[in-house]
Structures are given as C-alpha cells and as structure tokens.
Symmetry: C2
Subunit: 280 residues, 2 copies
C-alpha cells in the first residue's frame, strides 16, 4: 500500500505541537482544528498518547471537546499509543503522516507531550514545530533555556489571560535572544499569545504557521525537513525489519540462549550480539 501511496504524498502541511503537561496542548489542538476547518482545510490529528504508566494523557474534558470534531468528516483523529517497543513511534508516526497526506488531508497535526527525548524527536519530524508554554509554570522557561529553542519554530504562550503571562513572554523572549539557533537564513521564532479554551489567538497562530510555511518554502528548508523525515522513516523500517530478524534467529531461541549465557557471566554481551547477527 505504501508503494501505491507514494506518488500522492507531499501535499499536507505537517505540524508538530508539544509542551509540558498542563499547558493546554489538547485544547490548543482543538482550537487549531476549528480554525483550519473554518478555512475549509481537512485536518488529521495524530495524538501521541503517552499511555505511560505515569502521565495518563489528556484530561477527559479535552477528549470530549475534541470529540465535537469527530462527527466532522474533514477531521480525522487518531491516538497513537507509545507503549511497546522503544523507537516504535518514530517509525509509526511518519507512516501515519504519509497515509493521512495521501488521503488528502491538508494539515496533519502531531500532538505530543513534551517530556522525554523520543517525544521531541517525533515532533521534530514536522515541517513546523509549535512549542506551548503557560504562565506560572516556571519549569517551562527553565526548560526553554535548556533546549526547547532547538526544536521550536513557533512559540505559543497559552492561558495568556492569566497572571504572569507578560512575564512568561518576556522570559521567553530573553531565552530566545540568548539561545538563537543557527538556521542558515535566520527564522525569527514568533511568540503567539492564546487563550485556547476561548479560541482566542487562533487567527494569530494560523498566521504564524503560514508565515513559517512560506519561509520553509522560500529557503528550501521544507524539502530538507521532508528528506530528513523520510530518512527517519526508512531507517526505522529497516531497523524494525532487522530487529525482527534478530528476534527470529532460530525461532527466537538464540537470543534467549545467549542472554542466559550473558546473565551467567559465561559470554560477554558484545560477543553475544556478534553471534546473534553473524548470519546477517
């Protein structure tokens, strides 16, 4: 099927949206879906649900709000579980993007909680990555200094009607000025204020996303990012295939046999790994 889809892809704009728990990711996603629908664009949402033992994913209220979009056939929402094998999502997500793209969605929005490097990697598969912050979450700014500047193309300060929003914007602006990354022809990361729960700031955000898209196209960066995404996808598929071969060596008995020897201290893990892939 992927073979048949390939010629149809490359049209959708792929957006990544991330941020710490509690900043309003699902609400913002919902707002964006509404804004794109108002522009007659079809939107696919891939919600990377950590379904992790410790995070729990979106609040029920957000899910319900989201469901108001699910009766609209211009909207497709899929929750992708992160359980299972490490790195599984980084393979599965580009594939899901490809399918939605081929199916004619104009925008594909990947929403993920911004904790853990793997989630960041997934979001950075997007053409444009949006990082959400909210006032009163000091962590956000501290983290901003630490590294989100590297992945953000557009910043959103959500809950902008709350105390401390101005300070968050100022802190963020300062952090941006300190950590300005090199992007070749420089893109100045805008800061958009929103109150997603009231759909305030939706137009500003859509404009900022459009501006970034234009910049990507104008500087050949869109192509660069899409090749990078394809690299990740191809590599992921290849690694998964090889992993399956590893697991299948002698009906799966080989890994288990070698692991027992390693656990017993009879074989070192590197020699064991060599033996496992000997036939490849």
């Amino acid at each position: 099927m992927a073979a048949a889809l390939s010629p149809l892809t490359g049209r959708a704009r792929v957006l990544g949206l991330t941020g710490s728990p509690g900043v309003g990711k699902s609400t913002t996603t919902s707002m964006l879906v509404g804004a794109f629908r108002a522009r007659d664009l079809r939107v696919g949402v891939l919600a990377i649900d950590p379904s992790s033992p410790f995070s729990g994913g979106a609040l029920l209220g957000d899910r319900i709000r989201m469901h108001s979009h699910t009766v609209d056939d211009g909207v497709f929402i899929r929750s992708m579980a992160t359980r299972g094998h490490l790195g599984g999502l980084s393979t599965a997500t580009p594939q899901a993007v490809r399918v939605l793209d081929a199916a004619g969605f104009d925008v594909v929005l990947i929403e993920t909680v911004g904790v853990g490097q793997s989630e960041v990697d997934i979001v950075s598969l997007a053409d444009t990555t949006v990082v959400l912050l909210a006032p009163g979450m000091g962590d956000g700014i501290q983290a901003a200094k630490a590294g989100i500047l590297e992945v953000a193309d557009v910043f959103v300060v959500n809950k902008a009607d709350r105390d401390g929003a101005d300070q968050t914007v100022r802190d963020l602006r300062h952090a941006i000025s300190l950590g300005r990354r090199e992007l070749g022809p420089s893109w100045r990361q805008p800061i958009v204020r929103t109150v997603a729960s009231a759909s305030e700031g939706a137009d500003d955000l859509v404009d900022a996303l459009a501006a970034h898209h234009d910049w990507l196209v104008a500087h050949g960066e869109l192509q660069t990012r899409r090749v990078r995404r394809a690299e990740r996808e191809v590599e992921g598929i290849a690694v998964a295939a090889l992993r399956a071969r590893i697991a299948g060596v002698r009906d799966g008995s080989e890994l288990s046999r070698l692991a027992k020897q390693v656990a017993a201290g009879e074989v070192d893990p590197y020699s064991a790994a060599d033996q496992l892939t000997d036939g490849f």
Copy 2:
C-alpha cells in the same frame, strides 16, 4: 573490556526508582544512598537525566544534597543523558549496570523520572522497581490505576507528613487491590511511607527492598529478570551495530539518496528499507 568483566558480574542488587516530577526522587535516592552506606554497602547511582527540552532534571538543591555523597568513595554517581538516538539508553544503561556490578558495588540504583514509556522500560530492567508517589498529586493515583501497578514492586508514599498522605495510601491500596498483577507466586506490593527530606522511613524502605530481594531469590524470579535484562542488552547492542551498518551503507550516502526518492514520492519507504538492507 566487557568480555573481561563478565565473570565478575551478577553480585550487585539492581534497584530502579521512578515517579512523576516533584515526588522527591532525588531526595529519596539520596536517603537510600545514606541508608546503604550506613550498612557499609557500596552504592552506584545511575541518574537518568531526561535532559529533555521539557523536563529539566533534578532541582539544584537535590543535586547539591547528592553531592554530599560524592566525596565518599563508596558512592559513585553518574548522570546519563537521554539525548541522542532513540533506544540509546536502553542499551547504555544495562552496560553501565554491568560495569558498576563488576567494580564491586553492592547496590546499583537507577533513578529516572516516570514519564514516557522508554524511562519505564529502563527502570524495569532492575531487579526491584520502586515507584514513588506523593500526597496531593492526584495524577499519581490516576496513573497508578492506569498502569504503574505493572512495574512497581515496592511503592513509596513520600512526603508522608503532608496532608493527604493517608488518602494517598488508601487510594493506592485500593488501586493495588483492583489491579493486582499476576506474578506467578504472588508478591504483595508493600507501601512504605517516607519523608525523604528528613530521612524518615529509610529503614522501612531498606527492609522492604530486602524482603523483595529475598522473594526474588526464593521464587527464581531474580534469574528470570536478569536474563531479561541480558536479552535487552544483547538485542540493544546488536541493533545498534546494525543501525551503524545501515548508516554506513556506501559511506552513508545510500540512506540519504533513498530518503530523497521517498520524499519525492518515487520510491515507497518499504522498498527503500529493503534496498538499504539488501546486502545484509
């Protein structure tokens, strides 16, 4: 070196400690280090620092508290960054455990923030996994219902002097009774109350850990877990080696060439992956 180390390993008790941000993981780790040192045990700590753009790792205060142990040569503390390739930590962590084990540490403690499946996977490489909760973090209990029961061998309710601690213990006990996992010969997950900042509850926790260790030995489960850890390690090394081969095909130009074709819709990603691993 791994070959030379192998016969020396298998002595250390490997503990995993995890929980949501803010429950007091570093403080509890520090308390445990002190308790083990008081028993003349050498302790290695592997702190999985998410160094993720969005989490930021331990607070400075915890790091400083921890540093009081660093002048003690019975304590080794290493912070492991999670940046870099997906799955990198699940390979690197068992190796670091192996080295500390061979170096004669009696206890190896892996501390990681409990968000994201990958961190959970890493912690579950331990012989005994400790899950920390704190009162007033409703998320904790909600998450408990969702899945931490699957990985916890011992629960700690930290900050037990705070309002709501009793309720947290009750909620947790209820969640445990609902979600009791099958472990063959059943282990009843104890709930230990601590105030790690005041080192209260340290002895109870050490006792609970010892009881779990005895249970593991008595039921052959220790060996099972160590073989599972070795499996993960060997598989990780093998996959990393194959990944390096993929990246190196024709000096690395092949993945890039294929990715361009995929991005252009000329080749589907599965065929590209096949071509990439053709020679293996």
